[in-house]
Structures are given as C-alpha cells and as structure tokens.
Amino acid sequence: MEIKEGIFYTESHEWVKVEDNTAYIGITDFAQDALGEIVFVELPMEGEEFAQKEAIGVIESVKAVSDLYVPVGGEILESNEDLYDAPEELNNAPYESWMIAVDLADESQLDDLMSAEEYENFCKEEEE
C-alpha cells in the first residue's frame, strides 16, 4: 500500500495537498483498495460552500458506497469532471486523481490532519 510523503491525511482516508491557497482532495490507496473497483462518483458543484468534515460527494464501487468528506472547509473551486467518465482512475492512480479543489478558508484546519507517518500507523491499527 502506497502512502505519499508531503501531503496530509484524514481518518476517513482522504488525502489533502495544498498548493498556494488551494486544497486538492482525493482518496488514498488504502481507501481505493478497500472499496474495490470504483464505478461512479458524485461530486459537488463549483461555488458550493462546505464546512470541514461535511459529506460532499459519493464514491461507488460495484458493491459498496462511501461518502466523501471534505477535510477542510471552504468554497469548491473545481470538481474533477474527468472522473465522471473514468472513475477507474481512482483505482489506477489514487494520488494523481484529485476529486475536488477547495479554496482553503482556514489554514489552521490543516492541523487536524495527519502526516504520512501518522497515517501509516493509523492504517496499521485499522487493519488489526
């Protein structure tokens, strides 16, 4: 299982990568493996605003469905619409396939997230 250095992680298995003031959010390798073959995603509309940890989208595999929670609050700048046609990219390359871009409203919310190392330990515990 791959965990990438230099980005943030959540307990619900999202990753967050911050560039300037934009937070790109996707799901981790652990998450895509647990879900299995992903067949459909539902993402929020550009311009919608969400508070931290709100459910903003849905990820569906053949026999499971999971909510996408936004790890940091703010306005949706963009949803990755390529995923509508090719949801399998979330399986193939989870860290390249960002799902939404959020205008980071409160940088301190990043403090609630885990580092790569912390996330690795968290996953180990989950597996047990």
Binding site: E37, V39, V62, E88
Partner: protein
C-alpha cells in the same frame, strides 16, 4: 459449456408473426378520422417479429440457463427457498380466481372475499396477531406499510417527536431503507459477540424519541433473540412499538408466536414461509398484521362478514390509506392459502422442526471445515465465514462461484454485514438427508481445493454458460437495453 444466446430482437425478421387475432369486424372505422395525427405515433416501437415456435424456443432455452428450486439445492439464506407445491399452481389458475376483476360487485366475488377473510384468520392464529391485511405486495412493502402504521399511531397520540427507529446492525437492508422512506431517523444498535442484540447498547439508544424497534427473530444470523421479552419491555416502557420482520418466521411456526413475544406490528413473506414461488424475484406477498389497538390504522379495505355475506369495509377513517391498488397480490395469497390447507396445524409445526433440524445438521458437519460465526444451536439458518479460506487467497465469492459447478445455488454471501466473508446457509425443511450430505461433501471438497489448488476455486465457475462477469464495466458504462443498429 460456454454459450452465448441471441436476444429476441436479433432473431427478428420483418413479416413473421406469433399471434392470431380475430378478423377486424369494423373495417369501416378509420381511426385516423377519430384520433388527430398529433396524438399518433410516428414510428412503430421495435418489437420483435418472430414465429410462435421461435418465441417458445427462445424462452425455453432461456429457462435452461437458469437455476430454480426445481433444478437443484438452493440454500439461499434468509430467502427460504423451499419446494413450491404444484397443486398450488393449479388451483391459483382456476378461472374462478384468475378471471375475476377487482372492481366487480362484491356479491359476484364472495369466494375471493371468503378466502381473504379466512387467510386473515389463519395468519392471525399462526402469529398471535389480531388482524391482517393482504395489500402489501412484498416483504419490503409490508415493512413500509407497518412503519406507516407506527407513524400514524404516534401521530394520533400526539407523539410526533417519536421519530427514531432502532434497527440492529445485522438487519436486512430493507429495514433501514423502509424506515428512512417513511421519514424516521434510523438508529443502529450493535450486536454482541453472541450475534444477538446487545441489551446494554440497546438501553443506551432507547429514549423518549424511540418510535419503535424493527427486529427479525430469529435474526439474520439464524439465532433466536433470547432476550426478546426484556427487549419488548424496554421498547414498550418508552412508548415505542415492536416491529417483527417476518422473513424468518419459518422455524418458529407452531413453537412460539410473535404476538405472544410482544410484537405489535408484523409483516410476513408468503413467498418465503408459506411456500409460494419466488418467481425469479417476485411476485411476493407481504401481508401486514397488527395487535388490536392498531387495527384501525391498517390499509383499507378490510374484509368483514355479515351473516353469511362478506364485504369490503372502506369506512376506516384512521386507516393509513391504500399502499397498493385493490387487494394486493391476490393470486399469491391463493397459493399460500392452499399451502396452509395442505399442512394443517400438525404439518406447520413439522415444517419448523425440520427446517431447524436440517440447518443444525449442516452447521455441525461444516464447522470443522469453515469458520462458524456463532457456535450454538441455530434456527433455520446459520452463518459461516470464509476467513480460513481467505488466508489462501480464496474469497467467499470464489467459494460461491465454485458451488455453481456442482449444480448448487450458492448461499447468501457477504450478508449479514457483521460477519466477515459471510456465507449464510438456509437449507429449508423440504430437503432430504441425501441432499444435505451431498452438499456437505461438496463444501468439504471446496475447502480442500481452497488449500490445495486455490486457482481452481478462484477461477470458478467452470461449467456454467458464461464465466465470471465483469460487473465493474457493467456499472461504469451501463448498457441497459438493446438498440437497433439501423
């Protein structure tokens, strides 16, 4: 074994017909004079054009590509795939039933009303409830109806803030789905290590907001909820109602009655417990029964008797209304009625005993070879876990697919959710010792294969008309209909 089958549309040839209708006696009438062109169709629908024999062969071949109870063992947990008696098919096809119109005058359909009336009485006797209505078309529809009744009851008693329905985490998916459809908030309660509702956890979630608890008993892991009287008291003390999901009634008929255990509302699955065929996914029938104080909320109409005459009572001002047109899946009720006649009190009790005996026998013989989720006396079904086999890379799905090679319909898999790699097995009472032994042998062979030659199991099925199908592509790029190439 692999063999594709043409779609009926691909066999179509303009000019072929499979119908014969009387000559048009009214050639003088031209419909285009009567119906303006804007209402009429520009282009005909692409219906098939085949001969009668081609049509019959097509569907006959399709039937051979299908497994039913009559084809072989079908231990699909929670579905009670028992034998469907043939006499029931015959009597339900009597013209005196099939050729009656739901809007005929009551005086012309006294036989139908009598049957519905008696069915109500028989189901009430079996379950310990006071009154049944046959309108719901299936189990989930019965749940929806029962929950509407519960909502109406609380509303009329001024308890609209009772808006939570408690559902065990082992429950059928229809339970939370039905509850939330009716606008209840679903509160999940955990099962304990024994596979039963955790009383301590239940105490924590029960409150003055509790509208009711939905319970399957025996539950979906096949265990009888021993604490049922305590559970009932807990819910009733808070003014809540107890809902009985009748999917698993089969193993307790004649032993104990939901009404006596404290349940207030119940639905039955006539297509499970009462031997009516499942039809490939329906039609079922999901009668709803209630205790006296809830009778006034039942869907309308109810059948009543005045002297020797039966009639429909629509004068039920507190009724939740109709949940389906007319009187439900009447033709299914006819079959279930005939089933009960065939067994009588003695047979009904024998059904429950044999179904429990068969399940426990399989459980005891298989628990050496597969992990058993809960090692104790079960009722009509039990749950194995494929976790031993998973260590060799053989998943429960693989085991299920391998069973197909032996002509067995696999058990319910990956349900209930509380058991990892679950295989839920319900043999039913209609299977012989020989069939059970054969199944045990097959399961043992698969367990051995999982150790010695896992690929064989992982690549199964080998003997079916198609191999394992790509469900991911089906869901990603849905192709849900055939389309003409022209």
């Amino acid at each position: 074994m692999r063999k594709e089958k043409d779609l009926i549309f691909e066999m179509s040839k303009p000019g072929r017909v499979a119908f014969s209708l009387p000559q048009d006696e009214l050639e003088e009438i031209d419909l285009t004079d009567e119906i303006p062109a804007k209402y009429l169709r520009d282009e005909d629908p692409e219906l098939p054009e085949v001969s009668e024999l081609e049509a019959v062969r097509h569907f006959t071949e399709l039937s051979t590509r299908n497994h039913g109870v009559d084809s072989g063992f079908y231990p699909l947990g929670s579905c009670t795939m028992k034998y469907n008696a043939k006499v029931n098919e015959d009597v339900a096809r009597l013209a005196g039933f099939t050729a009656t119109h739901p809007l005929q005058d009551e005086k012309m359909v006294q036989g139908n009303l009598e049957l519905l009336y008696q069915m109500d009485q028989m189901l009430s006797e079996i379950t310990g409830m006071d009154r049944f209505n046959m309108q719901p078309a299936a189990g989930a529809h019965g749940e929806l109806t029962g929950l509407m009744i519960m909502k109406a009851y609380h509303k009329q008693n001024g308890n609209e803030d009772k808006n939570e329905i408690i559902v065990p985490d082992s429950a059928h998916g229809t339970n939370p789905a039905s509850a939330s459809m009716v606008g209840f908030k679903v509160v999940e309660v955990e099962s304990n290590k024994e596979g039963l509702v955790d009383l301590a956890a239940l105490k924590e979630v029960v409150s003055d907001k509790t509208a009711g608890l939905m319970l399957t008993n025996p539950n979906t892991v096949g265990l009888f909820e021993e604490d049922i009287l305590e559970i009932a008291e807990l819910i009733h003390d808070e003014g809540g109602l107890l809902y009985y999901d009748g999917a698993n009634l089969n193993p307790i008929m004649g032993q104990v009655r939901p009404g006596d255990m404290g349940f207030d509302v119940i639905h039955l699955n006539l297509h499970k417990t009462f031997g009516t065929p499942h039809g490939g996914g329906g039609p079922g029938s999901g009668p709803v029964g209630v205790k006296e104080e809830l009778v006034k909320y039942l869907p309308k109409p109810l059948v009543e008797k005045d002297g020797a005459e039966y009639y429909f009572d629509y004068d039920l001002p507190d009724s939740i209304g109709k949940v389906r047109s007319y009187y439900g899946n009447f033709g299914v009720v006819v079959k279930a009625y005939a089933y009960i006649l065939a067994l009588g009190a003695e047979g009904i009790k024998q059904v429950s005993e044999d179904s429990v005996l068969n399940a426990n026998y399989l459980k005891e013989q298989l628990k050496e070879h597969y992990a058993l989720a809960y090692d104790r006396i079960c009722k009509h079904e039990f749950v194995l876990s494929g976790k031993k086999q998973k260590k060799n890379g053989v998943k429960t799905l693989d085991i299920a697919k391998r069973l197909l090679d032996f002509g067995v319909h696999p058990p319910t898999i990956y349900f209930p959710l509380i058991v990892d790699e679950a295989l839920m097995i319900e043999p039913t009472e209609t299977e012989t010792v020989e069939t059970l032994d054969q199944f045990i042998e097959t399961m043992i062979q698969i367990a051995r294969e999982a150790e010695e030659e896992p690929e064989k199991v992982q690549q199964a099925p080998h003997n079916t008309v198609v191999g394992r199908l790509d469900e991911a592509t089906a869901a990603r790029k849905p192709k849900l209909r055939w389309k003409s190439e022209k």
